[in-house]
């Protein structure tokens, strides 16, 4: 994996729908400046946006770390929130615990975690009830 060439931490507030997506837009722009290819940036942006939306929808607050290594882009998110009761169920396409209010904003299709996994080369998730959830997404940006 190699050491980090670049690292930045972003803070996400639960329930702040007006600003939801700002972190992913910022990550996209950083990766563009770093010369990462568009198809890779798109995969990272989709994974980070779904992660960000999960914090906004379900958690109280969270932090997202962007780590760029010589061969990978890593998105690591740790939130303080209710946690996920059944991760296997949450990973199923179409399963959602989002409220009607969230659905009115276009989220809660039950595709968030499956979308993150699909966009990742490696995806790790662990969660503790009434504490929070941690996800680590790795996307390789070189084929070497």
């Amino acid at each position: 994996m190699g050491e980090a060439l670049y690292q930045k931490e972003f803070i996400v507030s639960g329930g702040d729908f007006d600003r939801a997506g700002e972190v992913s837009t910022a990550i996209k722009s950083i990766l563009k400046s770093a010369g990462i290819s568009n198809p890779i940036i798109r995969r990272v942006a989709i994974a980070s946006y779904e992660t960000e939306m999960n914090v906004v929808i379900h958690a109280y607050n969270g932090k997202i770390d962007l780590i760029l290594t010589p061969d990978s882009v890593i998105i690591e998110c740790t939130d303080v929130g209710p946690g996920i009761e059944n991760i296997d169920l949450a990973m199923q396409e179409g399963y959602s615990t989002a409220s009607d209010e969230m659905r009115e904003l276009g989220f809660g299709a039950g595709m968030g975690l499956p979308n993150i996994k699909r966009s990742s080369d490696n995806f790790e998730i662990d969660s503790e009830i009434n504490k929070g959830t941690h996800v680590k997404i790795t996307i390789h940006h070189t084929t070497a």
């Binding site: 939801a20 997506g21 942006a45 946006y49 009115e104 276009g106 595709m111």
Partner: protein
């Protein structure tokens, strides 16, 4: 060995605007080429299935329509049934360079017109 060539029909956004009798809410002036259509109100479905050079057709008017378009490299967004997003959403689209349109037609008619013009679904 037989080589199968599949031709992708594409259309510029200005042609789509005319077909749907739509109005620009914000025009990026670069008249992007559209090859695929995604009709959905669920943004995670859009993120799961859209390809670049797509037009998002939606009845949802939240700011997340523009965020989703940016994240998924969607070339433009058209709101159906005459719906109009708030100024904050239009400002964000301007900042991110994503053209926005609105048409009085409903989702079914918009998708029907674009499909019979040869455009394909993004999936």
């Amino acid at each position: 060995m037989e080589i199968k060539l599949e031709l992708i029909t594409h259309m510029n956004l200005s042609e789509i605007k005319q077909l749907l009798d739509a109005e620009y809410l914000w025009d990026s002036k670069n008249d992007p080429e559209i090859a695929f259509i995604m009709g959905s109100d669920m943004m995670s479905d859009v993120l799961a299935h859209t390809e670049p050079r797509s037009l998002l057709v939606t009845g949802l008017i939240s700011t997340q329509t523009v965020r989703t378009a940016d994240v998924a490299d969607i070339a433009g967004v058209i709101y159906v049934r005459g719906k109009l997003p708030d100024q904050q959403t239009v400002d964000l689209a301007t900042e991110l360079g994503i053209p926005l349109l609105s048409t009085k037609l409903g989702m079914f008619d918009v998708c029907g017109i674009l499909h019979s013009s040869g455009l394909k679904g993004a999936c």
